[in-house]
């Protein structure tokens, strides 16, 4: 990895996406110094971790929760004892530990499972134990290392909504890494795309994914698109084809209709997605416009004025 300059804002959900081997896991593990960078600094909440002795680092790590792809629970301990583990490490009194564990079990929705062992739980339940354990000492930051990659789509969604809930209720900053675009789109505020140890693109999720500049980003966008642009083009009948992107409240406005209405141009939607990125609605259409060139240019100009992103494909 080189030239990584990343800062995550307090209270946001920041996603790092990259293919396997891109360095995202290493990057995440540098945040709590499970992996020590050869050069550079790591600060969390204003404390520079790279400069701390090991006892100081141990103390700071209690402010940074972490969950893992393979959960990494103590197989020989019950759900209760797993969640109590970080509290006991922090030498909390016994009564406080037990009360806090009950609270956490409630928070992550594991009522009735307290005395089970991890082997008796499903993947989603194991990750809930992992989350409860990570939250035990009221951390400021939660690191998620491919937290949903070992789960089925339905369980993934339930874990993602739990994370979103935690972020909103407790105000915990979440830094996650994933190779799934779906995860980024569902809960992240900002995203960084990493490739071969370098951050190639970074910004608000909607910005980065509606106007992907880097080929790797485009790959990830295609992951969630129903079909590719080229397939959409195969069906067109000779007009000019544009890709139109729009975000936010514009999504619900009849902008395309308004622009076309005054002209003799007809249009066909070859491909389209109208969806949300976390809470931001967005649309992405591939439209064929059939009519005179001057009128088509006028429509494109009008759409741009309205704030849409218009790009001619052909």
């Amino acid at each position: 990895m080189s030239g990584i300059d990343l800062s995550v804002r307090k209270g946001e959900i920041f996603g790092i996406i990259g293919h396997s081997g891109a360095g995202k896991s290493t990057l995440l593990r540098c945040v709590n110094l499970l992996e020590r960078p050869t050069e550079g600094k790591v600060s969390v909440g204003g404390v520079e971790l790279t400069g701390l002795p090991s006892s100081g680092l141990q103390k700071q790590r209690r402010r940074i929760g972490m969950i893992f792809q393979h959960f990494n629970l103590l197989s020989m301990a019950t759900v209760r004892d797993n969640i109590a583990f970080p509290l006991k490490l922090a030498k909390k009194p016994r009564k406080a530990v037990s009360a806090r564990v009950d609270e956490l079990i409630e928070l992550v929705g594991l009522n009735g499972h307290a005395d089970k062992y991890p082997a008796q739980l499903s993947g989603g339940q194991k990750q809930r134990v992992g989350i409860a354990r990570a939250l035990a000492n009221n951390p400021d930051v939660l690191l998620c290392d491919e937290a949903t990659s070992a789960l089925d789509p339905q369980t993934t969604n339930s874990i993602l909504s739990l994370l979103l809930d935690i972020n909103r209720k407790l105000g915990i900053t979440i830094l996650l890494i994933t190779h799934e675009m779906h995860v980024i789109r569902t809960i992240c505020d900002r995203v960084a795309v990493i490739d071969r140890g370098e951050i190639v693109e970074m910004g608000d999720v909607a910005d980065v994914f509606l106007r992907p500049a880097h080929p790797v980003t485009r790959d990830f966008v295609l992951q969630v698109a129903d079909s590719s642009d080229s397939r959409a083009l195969a069906g067109h009948s000779g007009g000019r084809v544009f890709r139109v992107n729009y975000v936010g409240s514009l999504t619900y406005e009849p902008i395309l209709y308004n622009a076309v209405r005054a002209t003799n141009v007809r249009f066909a939607i070859l491909q389209g997605t109208v969806s949300r990125m976390k809470t931001t609605p967005y649309g992405q259409l591939v439209v064929e416009l059939i009519g005179s060139d001057s009128e088509i240019e006028a429509i494109a100009a009008q759409l741009r004025i309205e704030g849409l992103d218009v790009e001619e494909l052909r």
């Binding site: 709590n32 006892s55 141990q58 209690r62 197989s75 583990f85 490490l89 922090a90 082997a119």
Partner: protein, 227 residues
Amino acid sequence: MNKWLETFENFENLNGDELWEATKDTLVMMAWSMVFTVILGLVLGVVLFLTSRRQLLAQPVVYGALSLIVNILRSVPFVILMISIMPFTKLIIGTTLGVEGSIPPLVVAAVPFFARLVETALREVDRGVIEAAQAMGASKSAIVTRVLLLEARPGLLAAVTITAVTLVSYTAMSGVIGGGGLGDLALRHGYQRFQPDVMLVTVLLLILVVQLLQTAGDRMVRRYSRK
């Protein structure tokens, strides 16, 4: 059937008291040597594990040296080991004979064996769990006592069982230098006085001890397995 009984001299040489005493001696030797072996071997095994490559205290030189000593002790046949450490035994116990005199050689032979089994059992612990503990701010000593030893418990119990069974045969061998116990009885009566009945019964008793140890050990492992 008669012929068979004749071979064993109608079991006329058997002496209940003597057999009981020998069995008791064997069990006492076993118990004491197990206590010392488990304590010392656990420490040595943990140190071996921690100093090995890519572990918490990775110290290639220390690991290499300890590993060499363990290998040397494990490759010396027990009978020879027993004889060669007699001065040491005499120094710490005062005698090289009887139950007490057999304990030091048994421990010296069993510790490296048990330590290797401990090292292997610790290696089976999921690295991710250790990492999770580190991420939670656990110190190295907390990782050993609260994570490694807990997670490796079934493996450690299996190691104790295997070591105990091995010690049974070692205690029998210690009869060669007058160690006492069932092995000693088998040697003196069964072999030197040609009393095959004594030989047979002592061997059967040894089998029984091993069988009981193994069953108890397996049960403990099962009781503590969570997978």
